[in-house]
Symmetry: none
Subunit: 249 residues, 2 copies
DNA sequence: CAAAATCCCGCACAAAAACGCACAAACAGG
DNA sequence: CCTGTTTGTGCGTTTTTGTGCGGGATTTTG
């Protein structure tokens, strides 16, 4: 049995039962537990499983452990959110993606701001609802358990028929050569649609994601109009982007 | 049973009952109390539970005890939810409305149930997401701030093009003469669509709402197939409904 | 205040993981 | 074809992790 084949089988079992045991898999496919363990580690590294002692769990179980160590980047994200908010004016239609930076922005929206926010991110929606003057439109479709946002053709079709003033995109990786990239196929599809529909796209990215890339490409970096990081606009790290015609904030 | 799995189970119980006993958990999952205690300590360290002598408390409960009458109606709703859940089988497509009873049902869904839930209620969606085996489809549209559900023509159109197996309807008022009624125009539109699309409609209503009515009519009472209250099925209050051909549970 | 329940501590032990190594099959390139 | 390299796999050995148990300390309760 080929490695890929075996891993596909493991993933299938994982989706089916939401958990797998190294021991049972080993007797099941007739390979050593060591091999299973190595497979599980690979799958975990690719984000397709969660490795635990004794086997692995499906991502849908991960709700149990949200990492609390992320406090570190919180301040950076707040700074980004602050800059992003300055771009929003009363009466605008604003489309937002998922991601923690966007979520932080949602939390910091000034009370008196009157605008309409469109999103498929459950967490962001929750924040918008609590604001007194913000209208919320949710993009419906199947919800991806891993990213907690709606994905699928319905969602994409819905986005395509809008023309929002602004689009805030939480970017996982941006690089002039590789463009804007991500690791989840469904999310990529969605973000691509968001970018194409919007009059002005604003990328939100903490500095450590600048000049990095991930397996799947969304679009060229120059498709975004404005890039916001926690750094000052004249930071040398951002110079190439500014030269490429992207506004920096 | 894996450690993470067990802890997930404990957390689920905690969210459900707002408290857990080490002793009962121990006999429940068939592990030593020591192990449970260690789990609770870990969960407490992560801030997901509050360890107390004899078990643990949910974080939300730490405040003050809910007023007695709320607890009272909570128990009624739990009883309704329990009956409602018994109607759901694996693989079903289930459409649910908003309301606290439906929300309670969402919380009580058994861990191993595999089904697809469709809803426009933000609170319900949040509960569904936390279940490992449930697929979630959200109905998108504008969100009504008062009821925290999506309303509007898009939502209605979306519902119209589905044919779910079951529809659970939190009913605010039901009466044989006036039918099922509600007070919010947009919600009424939505519920009407839900009833028409579904193969089987189950009304959830606490007894005090039986034989009451509100300003706007959704449909006749007989449009629902099954009525679930916290009362036993042979309660005289429900006799007229049963005579009208509605199944009582 | 005394009995009962619960917790805490150290220990034992089995299951699982990590590590280093061996080995064979697949591959690449003269 | 031969040969050096990479890749996937299995096998001991050592470490780590998860769990249960006994007994003494502590808390709860009537």
């Amino acid at each position: 049995m080929l490695k890929k084949e075996r891993q596909a089988y493991i993933l299938h079992q994982l989706n089916l039962h939401n958990k797998v045991l190294s021991s049972s898999l080993s007797t099941d496919i007739n390979v050593s537990e060591d091999t299973i363990r190595r497979d599980l580690m690979e799958l975990a590294a690719e984000g397709k499983a969660i490795k635990v002692h004794g086997g692995a769990l499906s991502h849908s179980f991960s709700k149990v452990d949200l990492p609390a160590n992320e406090v570190y980047s919180l301040n950076q994200k707040r700074r980004i959110a602050q800059k992003a908010i300055s771009l929003i004016s009363n009466g605008m239609f604003v489309l937002t993606s998922g991601g923690t930076t966007v979520l932080e922005m949602a939390r910091m929206l000034p009370h008196q701001l009157k605008a309409t926010f469109i999103s498929g991110s459950i967490a962001a929606i929750l924040e918008y609802i609590n604001h007194p003057n913000i209208e919320v439109i949710i993009i419906g479709d199947k919800i991806s358990k891993s990213s907690k946002i709606t994905v699928g053709s319905e969602a994409i079709a819905k986005i395509r028929q809008m023309k929002p003033d602004l689009c805030f995109l939480g970017t996982n990786a941006i690089d002039l050569k590789h463009g804007i990239t991500d690791s989840d196929w469904e999310v990529v599809q969605l973000k691509r649609a968001m970018i194409e529909s919007s009059q002005r796209v604003i990328g939100l990215s903490i500095a450590e994601k600048i000049n990095t890339f991930q397996p799947i490409r969304i679009c060229e970096a120059t498709k975004i109009d404005t890039l916001i990081t926690e750094l000052p606009a004249d930071d040398p790290l951002l110079k190439p982007y500014s030269d490429a015609g992207i506004k920096i904030l």
